[in-house]
């Protein structure tokens, strides 16, 4: 899918390559196999990847220096697109929204996913496989279908959620589109609903890797359930949490379909204009290809900065870690 898929719709691999390197130095490979076969083996992949994965990125760097109107004349524009971007209040609003939606969807999700995983870890639990499977159901559904449903559920006048809220005396209908935070909550709910089960499974996998003896001995020492969770479970989830955060951030920066389906412009005060929607609108609503490319580069820079921060933090954590 290279450049076009939703960043989150991927299976998760044992990532954190920097850690791997530390443990193994590098993959040894098999010396007795003829290494020259490596080139034809990776060639088809690399060819397609370079053309449809790398070339568009390079091309967009080029376009970013132009005033590029698809039906008009294009002229060299120097770094004006970037200067203008920094001065464009919409960019900063989009940045704010993107992070707010990201935070609102990520942190509650972490708490719920870890709690659920802690429940599911229990060996005595009945119907284990059923619960696990159910958790993954929201993950397979399409964003468009789900936005249609949630939009209706969150409707201001006739939505089910407001219908329930107004049963509480003194509570007025909440406008889940016009308000900044309410609209972010609506979008974050759609995202969390899709991903919480998936992340639960990820956490469950790493919890299952924690040896039972640790819990047993903690229990013998008189540690309460909460203490066990705090001192045994949580510390061993560090890497997984970092991983979920990185993937969540990359995905969070690509939130597009949900806000776009609510309102193509991102709302009357741009209250849910996200970075990707901003890019899309500049390219395909305003026909400013050059400007859109500049936005794409800005998003890339943001991803790189976050990855760098993550990298530093992970290093520090694993440096301090007991192993």
């Amino acid at each position: 899918m290279t450049l076009i898929e939703e960043g989150k719709g991927r299976p998760k691999a044992p990532l954190t390559p920097w850690k791997k390197k530390k443990e193994k130095k590098q993959l040894p490979g098999v010396a007795s196999l003829d290494g020259r076969w490596g080139y034809p083996a990776i060639a088809p992949f690399f060819l397609i990847f370079l053309v449809f994965g790398v070339a568009p990125v390079l091309y967009s760097i080029y376009i970013a220096f132009f005033k590029w109107d698809p039906l008009g004349e294009s002229e060299f524009n120097g770094i004006n697109n970037f200067i203008f971007l920094l001065q464009d209040s919409d960019f900063w609003i989009a940045l704010r929204n993107t992070f707010s939606i990201w935070a609102l969807s990520t942190f509650p999700q972490l708490v719920v996913a870890i709690s659920l995983a802690a429940i599911l870890r229990n060996k005595r639990l009945k119907g284990k496989s059923f619960w696990r499977t159910i958790l993954l159901v929201p993950n397979i559904t399409s964003i468009i279908a789900i936005t249609i449903v949630f939009q209706q559920l969150f409707g201001r006048d006739y939505g089910l959620i407001n219908g329930l809220l107004t049963l509480i005396p003194g509570v007025d209908n909440i406008d889940f589109i016009e308000g900044i935070i309410p609209s972010h909550i609506q979008i974050a709910t759609m995202i969390s609903w899709r991903w919480v089960g998936y992340n639960t499974l990820i956490f469950l996998a790493s919890m299952l890797a924690i040896p039972d003896e640790l819990y047993e001995s903690a229990s013998v020492d008189g540690a309460s359930k909460w203490q066990q969770f705090k001192y045994v479970t949580l510390p061993s989830l560090k890497n997984t949490i970092t991983f979920v955060l990185i993937v969540g951030t990359i995905g969070g920066l690509q939130v597009f379909a949900e806000p776009q389906q609510l309102n193509a412009e991102g709302g009357s005060t741009k209250q849910f204009l996200t970075l990707t929607l901003f890019l899309y609108n500049q390219a395909f609503l305003n026909n400013k290809y050059g400007y859109a490319a500049a936005i794409g580069i800005a998003i890339t820079v943001i991803v790189l900065i976050i990855s760098a921060i993550n990298f530093v933090i992970t290093r520090r954590i694993s440096g301090e870690g007991s192993r």
Binding site: L47, V51, A55, L58, Y59, Y62, K67, P70, L71, G72, N77, N80, N81, F84, D88, S89, D90, Q152, G155, R156, D157, Y158, D172, N173, D175, E178, G179, A264, E265, S268, T269, Q271, F284, L285, N286, N287, K288, G290, Y291
Partner: protein
């Protein structure tokens, strides 16, 4: 960059693959059989007339593909770059300025160079007519909206969006207001009076009704466009150049429209139901609004979406009088492979005879001005709207209209103002701040 890419032999092979496996690309062509693909929106292409034409011409198959107005515009732009499957494309007048400017007329066939064939001679369209010959049938300023600044004719007008007030007689009665259309029209000679009437209406609503979101008008924000279009200049002033002079900062009409709308918003007369949303539709059925500023083309929407309200509606004059909203041109994209068939269909479909039928069955008010003194139009009454003489009412309104210069980014500016009023409506910003933001947002459109 792109050159070195296309030279790549691998990609060449891909292209060859794509072309040779033409199953996915080539349209099916039976002998003489023509499929006309129409990119359209709303009710521009009427199914009844479409069927009639197909009966007239069994060899022609018409496939209308509907989209929303803005996404359609986007698709039109993309397809102009790449070529596409459409034979006819509808664009709304707020976008006409965009297509008339610069190189963009090249995206469409110049209709002066087309000639009608003999195929519709029996159906009232003589052979050999170019756009120049049919021009006389149409309201001149509506025609001009399809003429590019390089003089090529890129679109032929369908309807004109004359604007009136549709109101609910039953709800008016309940609120102690007059119900007769003459008396109702007299309630609001000005917009201020309209707002006052609204307040009177709203004051009669129960607390529960207010809480459930009922109001006098569906969306007070819709007043903006109505007032705007009662002026003679919007955001662009004609100055002899293609682009016109930008006056969105100075035109007093804008301020007037803005202030009137803000007043209406703050007076609490609106039900805050955005037009063409599902909630609007539900509200229409539930009697959540007593009035709608209705362009002629909206009458059909009301009929379709709220069939149970039949006979409860009537139509009164717009405050101040003479309003306009919307209207569409039909164009033939220059990449179309069926231009002749498309032009023959267009000239038939947009001929006065057919437009009269469209009006009678669907309420779209024709821009074929030759009909405006036709008794069939003037005497037409609509049962759904309490037998209001809609023909006469809308004709009167349309004749009052003054032509307005629609500039390149008209639609974009309109929606920027709309968003600004939305902010005021939802109380997210006060009027002054919101207005300033509108202006700076518009400034941005002209940069980069």
């Amino acid at each position: 960059m792109s050159k070195s890419l296309t030279r790549n032999s691998f990609l060449g092979a891909l292209v060859a693959l794509a072309v040779s496996a033409g199953v996915l690309t080539a349209p099916a062509k039976a002998a003489e059989q023509v499929t006309l693909t129409i990119w359209t929106f709303g009710e521009v292409i009427q199914p009844g007339l479409q069927r009639e034409y197909q009966k007239l011409h069994p060899e022609v198959k018409i496939v209308p593909i509907k989209n929303d107005v803005d996404p359609l515009h986007q698709k039109t732009i993309l397809s102009c770059q790449t070529g596409g499957p459409a034979d006819i494309i509808a664009f709304e007048t707020p976008y006409s300025g965009y297509w008339r400017t610069g190189n963009r007329p090249n995206c469409f066939q110049d209709l002066r160079q087309m000639k009608t064939s003999a195929t519709n001679a029996d159906a009232g369209v003589a052979a050999g007519q170019s756009a120049n010959e049919i021009k006389k049938n149409y309201l001149p300023w509506r025609w001009e909206q399809g003429v590019a600044f390089n003089d090529s004719v890129i679109g032929i007008p369908t309807d004109v969006g004359g604007l009136q007030v549709a109101y609910r007689t039953d709800l008016f009665k309940k609120a102690g207001l007059p119900t007769d259309r003459g008396a109702v029209s007299k309630l609001w000679p000005t917009w201020d009076k309209f707002i006052e009437t609204g307040q009177k209406y709203v004051s009669k609503l129960t607390a529960a009704e207010k809480k459930s979101g009922k109001g006098f008008i569906d969306d007070a924000g819709s007043i903006y466009a109505a007032v705007m279009n009662q002026g003679s200049v919007k955001y662009y002033q004609p100055d002899g150049t293609d682009r016109g002079k930008l006056v969105y900062k100075t035109n007093p009409q804008i301020k007037k429209a803005w202030d009137t709308t803000v007043k209406a918003l703050n007076s609490g007369i609106g039900a805050r139901l955005g037009q063409f949303t599902s909630d609007w539709n539900i509200g229409m059925n539930k009697g959540a609004m007593a009035t709608i500023l209705a362009p002629a083309w909206m009458l059909d929407y009301i009929k379709k979406q709220a069939p149970d309200t039949k006979g409860k509606w009537d139509i009164a004059d717009l405050p101040v009088g003479g309003g306009n909203q919307g209207g569409t041109q039909l164009a033939i994209p220059s990449y179309s492979k069926n231009k002749q068939a498309a032009y023959d269909f267009l000239t038939w479909y947009l001929a006065p005879e057919q437009q009269l039928k469209v009006f009678k069955t669907y309420g779209l008010f024709p821009s074929t001005s030759v009909l405006y003194d036709d008794a069939a139009l003037l005497e037409y009454k609509d049962e759904f709207f309490s037998n209001a003489p809609v023909g006469q009412i809308y004709t009167k309104g349309v004749l009052k209209l003054k032509p307005i210069f629609e500039g390149e980014l008209q639609r974009k500016i309109d929606s920027t103002f709309g968003a600004g009023l939305g902010r005021v409506a939802s109380k997210k910003m006060d009027s002054k701040k919101s207005y300033a933001l509108v202006l700076s947002d518009i400034d941005k459109l002209f940069k980069n």
